[in-house]
């Protein structure tokens, strides 16, 4: 938080009971949802630490499902998200793991399955005050908060990809606030996360996908 606004102090307006266990959890799920382009049919949540111990009384489970359904943190439908999930054909389940002490106390791992059976694994933490951060995507460690307009690019680690991405953005006069490339091994799968000051238009995201080494680009926030 760089500037403390009046609405950070008297706010956020949110569905209770907890900014970290309810609003923050929902934000993690909402970001995870943004990473999957096709219809999500399955969600498996693994809860750690304080999430695992108190999730029912904090409605963390309902908030997570609400996030996958695309509800915002102010949506009164959050409380009944299980019913809405059933209507939407979303199958969900929860697993608790209270043994891991190395993780942040409010950590959740979300495994999403789309209509084609393709799986995406996202790990996120709730930082307090409703803020959230994605810490890993499909096993690759990343940092993503969704506080800026954000594009997640899945690519093959190859020369020139980053140059192409920045050129596409600069041609549209979009100022990059943060840009990070994450990879596991040289020449294999990598993720680039671009956070911009201006709203990144969908057309720009499509243009990024024209590069042969870019498998997908999605507007997460």
């Amino acid at each position: 938080m760089d500037i403390i606004s009046a609405f950070d102090v008297i706010g956020p307006i949110m569905i209770g009971p907890s900014s970290s266990h309810t609003a923050g959890a929902l934000r993690i799920a909402l970001l995870a949802r943004g990473m999957v382009r096709d219809t999500i049919v399955g969600a498996r949540f693994t809860l750690y630490g304080s999430f695992a111990e108190t999730y029912r009384g904090h409605g963390t489970d309902r908030a997570l499902v609400a996030g996958i359904l695309g509800f915002g943190t102010e949506d009164r439908k959050i409380k009944d998200s299980f019913t809405y999930a059933q209507q939407a054909g979303l199958v969900y389940s929860f697993v608790c793991d209270t043994t891991r002490r190395d993780l942040h106390p409010n950590t959740v791992e979300i495994e999403l399955t789309d209509a084609h059976g393709h799986a995406t694994m996202v790990q996120g933490v709730s930082l307090g005050g409703g803020r959230a951060e994605i810490r890993a995507i499909n096993g690759i460690e990343v940092r993503l908060t969704g506080e800026y307009s954000t594009v997640l690019i899945h690519q093959t680690d190859a020369p020139g990809v980053l140059a192409y991405i920045t050129r596409v953005l600069s041609e549209q006069n979009i100022n990059i606030a943060f840009l990070k490339l994450y990879r596991e091994k040289r020449g294999e799968t990598a993720y680039t996360i671009v956070e911009a000051d201006q709203e990144i238009p969908q057309a720009v995201v499509h243009e990024m996908e024209q590069h042969p080494s870019i498998h997908s680009a999605v507007l997460v926030a």
């Binding site: 403390i4 009046a6 102090v9 008297i10 706010g11 949110m14 009971p17 900014s19 209270t98």
Partner: protein
Amino acid sequence: MDFMNAAQLLDLCGQQDISLAEAMRRREVELTGVLRARNDERMRRTWQVMQDAIHTPLENPARSMGGLIGGEAAKLDQRTKIQAPVCGAVVANAITYAIGVLEVNASMGLIVAAPTAGSSGVIPGAFAAVQAHLGHSEDDIVDALWCAAAVGYLITLNGTVSGAQGGCQAEVGSASAMAAAGVVQLMGGTPKTSLDAAGIAITNLLGLVCDPIAGLVESPCQTRNALGAAGALVAAELALAGVALPVPFDEVVDAMSRVGASLPYELRETALGGVAATATACRLAAGGCGDCAK
């Protein structure tokens, strides 16, 4: 235009002959670039959500997710309609509203974290009670919210409003200070008087621990919100009469942070100490709280 502590804020208000609310408004416009009218509109919506959260539990009481609370605001409302309230009508209303908002929060209703969800009942409780008895306009209340925001901003910047860091004094204590300053402004008090009231409100709750039963934002959070709202009215009354602590607000915030840092881990939202660690609380938490069962 920005201010980093209460001393700077008071200087600024003195030089420009403006209220705490006005200083906070101008700061918001300058630092975020969002137009003044839009910010006020947003604050009006904030007040609307607070009012809804006050009235909902009186008409439709709901059980909390954890099952520890629900229906308390309606009980108070009923009693004070039939019998004369022990603490007077204004305070009775303030505590009824404050605990009602906590019911809404605990049953997954819509609230305004002010400054946190766990202390969300204090400001609406105090403001709505004063408004109901003294007939303040919506604009007056919006102004008081800006004033409360100025105080909350200073505590967030120079101290903490997190129960995990500073205990309940940081949550309900801060909310009480914010509410006290706003009430003083509603009553026509000066910026200095508002900050005097804020200092009294925090100091009166200094050391208050955060010991939520079963780790939930339900009990004793709910009754402490009642205390925070009532404490805000007490602090405002004292300050408006010219009673003030000999210690300025900035030093009170500093003292609160130090007390928070010296609180043991068990008394900072972990549900391992205080009433959360009693035999009964552990039974209530059965199945959920692993460490508690030891």
